[in-house]
């Protein structure tokens, strides 16, 4: 695709974003509980079409819980979650997954005894594998390592390759919103950089909306258009990625020593 073509696409995306004023994903006053423990305390988050939004925070702040609550497990006890105008608060997980909302879960969770190709097939299960060959080719272009390992069992690959597979598997359903839970977990800095630049590329060329949960605050905020900071189950700060990066509080709490 030529540079001009990309620009046209970006313009279109922007136009679409401005036309549809309502955010693609909106989380309003959501609380979730593990037994009697209140893990989320009235969280508000918006993800607009065409945006990359990062959610950062320390261990146990409730980032992954929010991600899982959006996916209906655990279900939010208070508040509403809306995706593309539809209330998904009380939907079971597998029905949420059928709404063009894909997730690369924490810890990757690839099917380790199945081959890369079979893993990707599972990702395409939502739309019945209609464009499987086409999408498979697209994923192999996006992550050339997967092409090399296409008939290898998922569990025998390195952590970085497994993460690529997890993202590719999520993308196989042609989602409008891709949710990434800790994609940098346990990976070498070089691999993290590679994965993040692929995500940025996807957002730029295809207008893919991304919601990313990360502990690696520096990389996540660098990538994101906007960011939220979460502390003990509540959002305490929000702003553009750059603004949060420059914020002295964020710097002190999440960025010291984390820049590499």
């Amino acid at each position: 695709m030529s540079v001009a073509g990309i620009n046209v696409l970006v313009d279109e995306t922007r136009a679409r974003t401005e036309a549809a004023k309502a955010p693609l994903l909106s989380v309003r006053g959501v609380s979730a509980y593990y037994g009697s423990i209140r893990a989320l305390k009235g969280v508000d988050i918006d993800v607009n079409e065409g945006e990359i939004v990062a959610l950062i925070g320390a261990n146990g702040a409730g980032k992954s819980t929010l991600m899982m609550t959006i996916f209906g497990q655990p279900q939010a006890r208070e508040g509403t979650i809306t995706f593309a105008g539809q209330d998904i608060t009380k939907l079971p997980t597998h029905e949420i997954a059928r709404l063009n909302l894909a997730q690369s879960p924490e810890g990757r969770r690839i099917f380790s005894r199945m081959t890369v190709r079979e893993n990707l097939q599972m990702g395409a299960a939502v739309n019945g594998g209609k464009h499987f060959a086409e999408d498979l080719e697209r994923m192999c272009t996006l992550f050339p390592r997967l092409r090399e390992r296409i008939d290898q069992r998922g569990g025998t690959m390195s952590g970085g390759e497994q993460q690529m597979l997890a993202i590719a598997r999520a993308l196989m359903s042609r989602p409008r919103l891709l949710m990434l839970d800790e994609p940098s977990l346990g990976l070498a800095p070089l691999v993290v950089k590679q994965i993040f630049s692929t995500v940025r590329e996807l957002n730029r060329t295809e207008g893919l909306t991304v919601f990313i949960v990360e502990q690696n605050a520096y990389h996540a905020l660098k990538l994101a258009h906007r960011g939220y900071v979460m502390v003990t189950g509540a959002v305490t700060m929000s702003g553009t990625g750059q603004a949060l990066l420059d914020d002295p509080q964020v710097k002190a709490a999440y960025l010291e020593g984390g820049q590499h």
Partner: protein, 458 residues
């Protein structure tokens, strides 16, 4: 320098160890023999017999003790020699592999064993007749074939639940019982034919599969195993205690025998032999039963192989790998689990009604926990999810104990009272332990991908 740090130096020491340590080995073997002697004095050396009078008399068996000690000595020596040789060869092989970087590619076992097993299965009645010099003389082998194939089919059915979907089911025999009683009751009470009852039995069993599936949807692993175990026992206890319905522990007898699509296997006019212009032979029915179970088992296999390529089958395998990932990919785990239970149970139902038509008699005795355990052992030993592995394991688990019957010559060694059959479960256990040590993931642990490119250059 602490040890021979270069590989080149390590090899000669290994080789030297194997030969120079012979006196040490003999000493070691002698020690083993001594321990055997110590152990056998209280256990083997004296036997209590009823004496001429009233009391017990002691009979010395020192010859046997000496024989045991000698046997242990020789075995231990042989073991040391063989093990030394094996480890030397392994070292040599690792060296060779380190030198040539190309990894040795394992030949897929299925390529030879699979067609061979199928070929033998298809021609077994012929082979048995030729080998024993007549159809009637080969009956033992055909009966054994029927028995093995029944377990192959049950193994393949359970493989759907345990091997593919990863749901540990310890009560599988319950569905086998449902199938058997379905045929027994439908044929004796309503006079329905086998071919009508077969699908009905499968349907009933599948219904029971769903019935079991619902309460255990949220359970996994140990908890699931306990509930399924209880389910199997409940079905058996109901069959024992509901006498009006199932005949209680006396069971149901005089179940109609199999007919050749309506033509009975009888000697008189209108029987199978006279319709086809053959001389009457009771073996016709046995051979027919053999091919019936063979077809049923092959259908089970084909359905499973086909399912693995369909979205539902892949969802089963994905469910075994990771339930949470499954759900986040839009797979309805409820439907997936229930379908695995239902399909697995259906094949057990088919096998059950075959069992009933073959035996002509069913009782709760045939469906105890040991049966479930054997079927599960077949699946686990075969390598979870491997169709060929299950078949091989079924042959080994069901066929091997039969071989014990032919070990009468051991009486010469262990005395007249020795009955090899009594050691069946002991050997069974030994085989299990050996398997878990040497092939912990089953006979055929390699999972075949359900899709792969036709030809890949690399």
């Amino acid at each position: 320098m602490v040890q021979g740090s270069t590989i080149g130096r390590a090899t000669p020491t290994v080789a030297a160890r194997a030969t120079s340590a012979l006196p040490e080995m003999i000493k070691d073997a002698a020690l083993f023999a001594l321990v055997t002697l110590g152990l056998s004095i209280p256990v083997v050396a004296y036997r209590t017999d009823l004496g001429q009078g009233t009391g017990l008399g002691l009979t010395g068996r020192w010859g046997l003790v000496a024989g045991l000690c000698a046997a242990v000595f020789v075995l231990r020596l042989a073991q040391r020699l063989v093990l030394g040789e094996v480890s030397r060869r392994r070292d040599a092989r690792t060296l060779a592999q380190a030198e040539s970087t190309a990894p040795a590619r394992l030949a897929r076992p299925g390529r030879i064993i699979g067609p061979l097993t199928l070929g033998v299965a298809l021609t077994l009645p012929l082979l048995a007749a030729l080998g024993s010099g007549g159809l009637s003389e080969g009956r033992y082998w055909i009966d054994l074939g029927i028995l093995i194939l029944t377990y192959v089919m049950l193994g393949w059915g359970l493989n759907i639940v345990v091997g593919l979907a990863g749901l540990l089911d310890l009560g599988y025999v319950a569905f086998y019982a449902v199938g058997a009683y379905s045929y027994a009751l439908l044929s004796t009470v309503f006079g329905l034919s086998f071919w009508v009852c077969l699908p009905l039995a499968g349907l009933f069993a599948a219904g029971f599969g769903v019935l079991l599936g619902f309460p255990v949807l949220r359970l996994r692993g140990d908890y699931l195993a306990i509930v399924t175990l209880a389910f199997g026992e409940i079905i058996r206890l109901v069959l024992i205690n509901w006498v009006d319905f199932s005949g209680g522990s006396a069971g149901l007898s005089s179940i109609p025998r199999a007919s050749f699509f309506g033509i009975p296997f009888t000697a008189g006019e209108g029987g199978f032999a006279s319709v086809f212009g053959l001389a009457f032979n009771p073996m016709h029915r046995v051979v027919f039963l053999y091919y019936l179970i063979l077809v049923l088992a092959l259908v089970t296999n084909l359905v499973t192989l086909r399912m693995r390529r369909l979205p539902l089958g892949r969802a089963w395998e994905a469910l075994r790998e990771d339930e949470i990932a499954c759900r986040s990919l839009g797979i309805d785990t409820t439907i997936t689990k229930l379908s695995a239970f239902a399909l697995g149970a259906m094949f057990a139902g088919f096998a059950g009604s075959f069992f009933a038509v073959r035996q002509g008699f069913v009782s709760p005795e045939s469906f105890n926990f040991l049966e479930s355990a054997i079927i599960l052992a077949i699946v686990v030993l075969g390598g979870m999810g491997s169709q060929l592995g299950v078949a091989v394991a079924a042959i080994a688990m069901v066929g091997a104990p039969e071989l014990l019957r032919n070990l009468g010559f051991l009486k010469a060694v262990f005395g007249e009272g020795f009955d090899p059959n009594e050691y069946r479960l002991l050997l069974f256990g030994l085989a299990m332990v050996a398997m878990m040590v040497w092939r912990p993931r089953g006979l055929i642990s390699e999972r075949t991908p359900s899709v792969r490119l036709g030809a890949r250059a690399r």
